[in-house]
């Protein structure tokens, strides 16, 4: 893949053909990748083994025994069994998925709409573009605090709503379970729509111009061009954008922990917030390890399937392209 506009470099691209530099520097190459390998080993292997080991016990930080003596309270799979009937855990997973299912599509659609507005040039485009990207660059914890202030019952959001509706609005946003949930989703959408916009715009600008011109000459309407040429060409870009956002949405912690601490009650508790609370308030580290390990296994499987699917789609596309090139060469 070359550096075309908006081109997609596949993660599993074949390695470069052997040439003199590759041969001469093989040993150096191994040395150079060593620090990366070591860091990965350090962060995957030791914590991985630790989390499995501790998750099979009742160990906690207040036991008075160091973690390596955790075997004294070995319980095999009790933590895992407990997790399956832990309603708070499943509730938090459900809420995380709900946020993903509402916020990510909302961000995608708004981002796509904005990208359409920005695809051809107009005066002040660059300034507007820079401003629109700003929410994404705000430190998430600060963004959480910003929305915490905005959503106070005597805060600006209620004031704006009061002006717009003409009557006094005094929602207690962050103390009402449903409103608090809406509030954190608004915060997430505010912060991450720019990311979708950025990626989708890059993808849209990568659509070959000659095809668009040809379609215009053939009298295609804007809608036809958009749905028949632009969207199909952007498939991979859209998948990348959605996958990146979905993965990040599953991690959601900073914004909502600052805004609501998962409350009121457990109304806005996501998986990360739940794990945090069990870690620091209940100090059940063994149990949390079991949950963490299950999440890692689950996501690894999911990630593996995703990468395999991407690689297959890329291969198919490449084969299709080569087939077309062959046909063109023959024809």
């Amino acid at each position: 893949m070359t550096a075309q506009q908006g081109s997609v470099a596949l993660p599993a691209s074949p390695v470069a053909p052997v040439h003199s530099l590759a041969v001469a520097g093989r040993r150096l190459g191994k040395l150079m990748t060593l620090p990366t390998q070591l860091l990965l080993l350090f962060i995957f292997v030791f914590p991985g083994l630790m989390i499995i080991y501790v998750s099979l016990t009742w160990w906690g930080p207040l036991d008075g025994t160091p973690w390596y003596d955790a075997y004294e309270s070995l319980n095999w799979f009790d933590n895992y069994i407990e997790a399956f009937s832990d309603e708070r855990l499943w509730g938090s997973i459900g809420r995380t998925l709900l946020i993903m299912l509402v916020a990510v599509p909302a961000e995608f659609l708004i981002g796509l709409g904005l990208a359409v507005l920005f695809v051809d040039s107009f005066p002040l485009k660059r300034v507007f573009y820079s401003i629109l990207l700003m929410p994404m660059m705000i430190v998430p914890a600060v963004a959480g605090y910003m929305f915490f202030m905005l959503f106070q019952s005597n805060g600006p959001i209620n004031q704006i709503l009061s002006i717009l509706t003409g009557s006094t609005v005094d929602f207690v946003w962050l103390n009402d379970p449903n409103l608090a949930f809406v509030a954190i989703m608004i915060a997430d959408i505010w912060q991450w729509t720019p990311l979708m916009f950025l990626i989708l715009l890059a993808g849209m600008l990568g659509v070959p111009e000659d095809q668009m011109k040809a379609a215009t000459l053939l009298g295609a309407s804007w809608g036809q061009k958009f749905f028949r040429i632009v969207l199909p060409k952007m498939k991979v870009v859209m998948i990348i954008a959605i996958v990146i956002r979905a993965v990040e949405a599953f991690k959601l912690f900073d914004v909502m922990y600052v805004m609501t601490k998962g409350g009121p009650g457990v109304a806005t508790e996501t998986v990360s917030v739940y794990i945090y609370k069990v870690t620091f308030f209940d100090l059940e580290w063994a149990y949390v390890s079991a949950i963490g390990f299950m999440i890692m296994v689950f996501l690894s499987v999911l990630g593996g399937v995703g990468i395999a699917m991407m690689a297959r789609a890329q291969r198919r596309r490449r084969e299709a392209n080569m087939g077309a090139a062959d046909a063109a060469a023959r024809g």
Partner: protein, 287 residues
């Protein structure tokens, strides 16, 4: 036809302006709040105003010196140390990530070594940090790395390594090999080729990567929340503790601090705007 176009232009501007207003309102709110005196923090007494009626730098004075005329409570532990801690830790973490990532990326890009390394690096990014951090906390406290700057720099370097690695890999992949091979033929050792020929060629991309990774490290909250206690508390963690010590919410003080935390990433982000897409998609997309 002409009226139709005028309509389209007008509609575009209206929609873009709405988006701009929505993007800016929260930021402007915080920025103006940072300059408001205590009486204007909430609507409890008066109507909410968007611009400060009596602008003051009292909030900044308060968080950095611990006292100001208006607030009776003296602040214990000013924001000075957290600001420095954020700077030091984010910079060192960036150094670790970019140094390790650049070497690894060059190795993978040029010498066909490492096998599945790029994908393993990417996998680091998949897991929710909260799920991974429990054993990290155990390890860090076992190795006495909690609340030390090298401990935090190490974990920041690991957390942002995927970005540094993939960014540099795509940059290296774009550099033609012919020059390097010519240098090799001239008798340079592969290391000298990298150090003397390739690195100078990727100076600008390297700077982009440094800024990008710095933004990410600066923006962290969770890792610092788990691994700092007192000495190396970063801005976001300090900010969330600010109201525990006080009675009531320190809206203005927090807004001032939030503004300070928000400025570096926004400025740096605008500087490297051209490369944001590449950074955020691990090099999969270019602009």
């Amino acid at each position: 036809m002409a009226t139709q176009r005028a309509w389209a232009v007008a509609a575009r501007y209206v929609l873009v302006l709405v988006a701009i207003v929505i993007a800016l309102v929260p930021i402007v709110w915080m920025a103006t709040l940072a300059f408001k005196p205590v009486a204007e923090w909430t609507t409890a007494t008066a109507d909410l105003t968007w611009l400060p009626k009596n602008p003051t730098i009292g909030n900044f004075e308060y968080i950095f010196t611990g006292q100001t005329k208006e607030v009776i409570v003296t602040l214990e532990g000013t924001a000075l140390r957290p600001v420095l801690a954020s700077l030091v830790i984010a910079s060192l973490g960036t150094l670790v990530a970019v140094a390790v990532g650049t070497l690894g990326a060059y190795g993978v890009s040029r010498f066909a070594v490492g096998g599945n390394l790029p994908l393993s690096v990417l996998q680091l990014r998949l897991f929710p940090p909260m799920a991974v951090m429990i054993p990290v906390m155990m390890m860090w406290s076992y190795l006495a790395l909690v609340d030390t700057f090298w401990g935090l720099a190490l974990i920041y370097g690991i957390v942002t390594l995927p970005f540094a690695f993939w960014l540099m890999k795509t940059f290296f992949d774009e550099v033609p090999r012919e020059i390097e091979e010519a240098a090799l033929v001239e008798g340079c050792s592969p290391w000298r080729v990298f150090y003397r020929v390739t690195l100078p060629m990727v100076k600008a991309p390297l700077a982009t990567t440094v800024l990008f990774v710095f933004i990410l490290n600066w923006s962290d909250y969770l890792v610092a929340l788990l691994l700092t206690r007192k000495d190396w508390v970063t801005i976001p963690v300090y900010m969330s503790q600010l109201n525990i010590a006080m009675t009531g919410e320190m809206y203005g003080a927090k807004a001032a601090l939030g503004l300070i935390a928000a400025i570096p990433p926004v400025v740096l982000g605008i500087i490297i705007q051209k490369h944001l897409v590449r950074g955020l998609t691990f090099g999969a997309l270019k602009q």
